[in-house]
């Protein structure tokens, strides 16, 4: 009797929720939001926008959301993680996603006014570096998703110009060029097949750039495929530069309870694995054991 009254009270007083949430380092919300737009902007690449003043006010660059398509169907079962790609007018959030499977395909089928459940903001986010030194952003493919939001924020605080190396496999995949130019970013574009911009990989530009800019440069922020991040991390270490990489991992919860999203730590006695959703997704490059990646 008594006990069930206690349970009942929870649902009568919302303050209760607020009180307990203060235990937690940073606040996490679960919201059902209605889609404002969802359109294709490149090969298999879509941009989705929705309103949430709460999430917009909490979100930091590098953080992500766990997205669910609703409970009527149980397939896909799990939420899918997506970086917060952009924030507009302090109340609109955008996701930039590539169709790679079931969940992203279904996501692309959603229309204006359809609703999704989002959980977040999750993860640590990027550490913003000293504003008086240069910063280099390196994005491979969808890696541009979180780095765009970072560029937005740096743009506000940064005195120095921001440089970005942006790489895709081919010209049809190239996106966001104008939006990035609007942030007055010094942009270098590469495509592997040379169909647009410089032929090759983003990492090819790095050596030359460092030869000139090394001592003006404070930090590298990188997001993209593992081989790219590996290369960037390696160069950063040899030229002993501060370098943050944003990693992905197979996630079930995004909340640190399933232990699914493990990445091998670089000789850390009491923590053999980091959890991308909790300790990341942003890691200082020397934290990761790149051999096993």
């Amino acid at each position: 009797m008594q006990s069930s009254q206690v349970e009942y009270s929870l649902f009568l007083s919302n303050q209760h929720f607020l009180k307990v949430s203060s235990f937690f380092m940073n606040e996490v919300l679960e919201e059902t939001v209605s889609i404002k737009f969802n359109r294709q902007i490149g090969k298999d690449t879509w941009l989705m926008g929705f309103r949430s003043a709460n999430l917009a006010s909490l979100a930091k660059p590098g953080q992500f959301l766990m997205v669910h398509l609703g409970r009527t169907t149980k397939d896909p079962l799990l939420r899918r993680p997506f970086s917060i790609h952009r924030i507009q007018d302090n109340n609109q959030l955008m996701l930039l996603y590539k169709i790679v499977g079931k969940g992203t395909l279904l996501l692309s089928c959603l229309k204006k006014d359809d609703s999704i459940s989002v959980l977040g903001p999750l993860g640590n986010g990027f550490t913003i570096s000293k504003p008086h030194k240069k910063t280099l952003l390196i994005a491979g493919g969808m890696g541009v998703a979180p780095l765009f939001f970072l560029a937005q924020s740096l743009h506000k605080v940064q005195k120095q110009k921001i440089t970005m190396f942006l790489g895709f496999s081919t010209s049809q995949e190239v996106i966001l060029i104008n939006e990035l130019k609007d942030l007055n970013i010094d942009l270098s574009l590469t495509t592997e097949d040379g169909s647009l911009g410089i032929t090759g990989l983003v990492t090819d530009l790095l050596d030359e750039y460092l030869r000139q800019e090394l001592n003006q440069l404070s930090t590298i922020y990188a997001c993209g495929p593992i081989p790219m991040l590996k290369k960037v991390a390696q160069i950063a270490i040899t030229s002993n530069l501060r370098c943050y990489v944003s990693l992905e991992g197979r996630m079930a919860c995004g909340l640190g309870i399933c232990q699914g999203c493990a990445v091998k730590a670089n000789n850390n006695k009491n923590k053999p694995y980091y959890y991308v959703c909790q300790d990341g997704p942003v890691f200082s490059s020397e934290m990761i054991d790149w051999q096993v990646m």
């Binding site: 929870l10 235990f23 409970r71 939420r79 909340l255 309870i257 232990q259 694995y273």
Partner: protein, 307 residues
């Protein structure tokens, strides 16, 4: 205004305020979901599986989604029972509901040792023995698949603790009833049914297993009909209370298990998809009882109508 229904049930001497328990390995060390609700409102919490020594767990990928299911090979990554008791437990003072530890080992001796270690820790209300972990290499299956071995583990734990002992069975057996009867006669006060089903997935492009561990344990809605059948089989073969686990996503799923005869249920994979799943089930069960004029949930337990 209807009076509040009594949702409290008793599991092997442990009275809990409602039948909703969070499943081991799906609720962390009990404080991760605090931003979403007060865990004190749950019937009980079973924390992440603990071993005597800390375990790093398997190399990634550790999880992969399958149709309506989750295949995992976490490899029982945990901080070890000592660190849990010394560092985690104290931080759980604000959680006003029984905390149950789930223990796992490769040797019966270690099971007994862990039971001893827990015995004088008041904050721990009961012990759930995992004799079924399928996703650790070289035969995590061993203990749970043979009645005698299962009984021996149970016996050793029971002998070394005064706390209620719950044995969690593996579904990957020919005759779960014989295992259930064996652990019952070995002194188990309750039985959890079921742990994950052995499964595998292959990446067609690389022709490699999708899990580094090759084999994983299947959980989620996909396994619900099988878990429900196993609970049905066990409740008709033992007298001790049975806790139903497997694919429970909402209160309707929970009711299926309770109707079949489960005295309580565990919420696992659902926590990952909906962090409020467990507390919503508590609330929805309350509403259901009010709606259906069930004054005490015990009236529904085992109310399966075979016509």
């Amino acid at each position: 205004m209807v009076s509040q229904p009594d949702l409290s049930v008793t599991i092997g001497g442990l009275k809990i305020k409602n039948p909703v328990i969070t499943a081991s390995g799906t609720f962390g060390y009990a404080n991760e979901l605090i931003p979403f609700y007060d865990p004190s409102l749950l019937g009980a919490i079973i924390v992440k599986g603990l071993s005597l020594q800390p375990m790093p767990g398997n190399p990634p990928p550790r999880i992969i989604e399958t149709p309506c299911g989750l295949l995992n090979a976490i490899g029982l990554a945990n901080i070890g029972i000592e660190t849990f008791i010394e560092e985690k437990l104290p931080s759980l003072v604000n959680i006003k509901t029984p905390i149950i530890t789930n223990i796992y080992s490769h040797s019966i001796k270690e099971y007994a040792e862990m039971a001893k270690r827990i015995e004088n820790v008041d904050r721990i209300a009961a012990i759930e023995i995992n004799i079924s972990c399928p996703n650790v290499e070289k035969g995590g299956m061993a203990f749970g698949t043979d009645p005698d071995t299962a009984a021996r583990v149970t016996d050793q734990v029971v002998k070394n603790t005064t706390k209620p002992v719950i044995v969690k069975l593996t579904p990957n057996v020919t005759d779960i009833a014989s295992i259930a009867r064996a652990v019952e006669s070995a002194g188990a006060q309750a039985i959890s049914v079921t742990n994950t089903f052995l499964g595998m997935a292959v990446d067609v492009a690389t022709r490699q297993p999708k899990l580094t561990n090759i084999i994983g344990g299947l959980s989620g809605p996909a396994i619900k009909p099988m878990a429900l059948y196993l609970v049905h089989k066990v409740v008709t073969n033992v007298k001790i209370p049975v806790i139903g686990v497997g694919g429970i996503m909402d209160y309707q799923d929970a009711l299926e298990f309770i109707i079949v005869g489960a005295s309580a249920i565990q919420v696992g994979t659902a926590n990952f998809i909906n962090p409020k799943a467990a507390i919503e089930i508590v609330q929805d069960l309350t509403d259901y009882c009010v709606r259906e004029k069930v004054s005490n949930i015990n009236q529904i337990i085992g109310s399966l109508n075979l016509g």
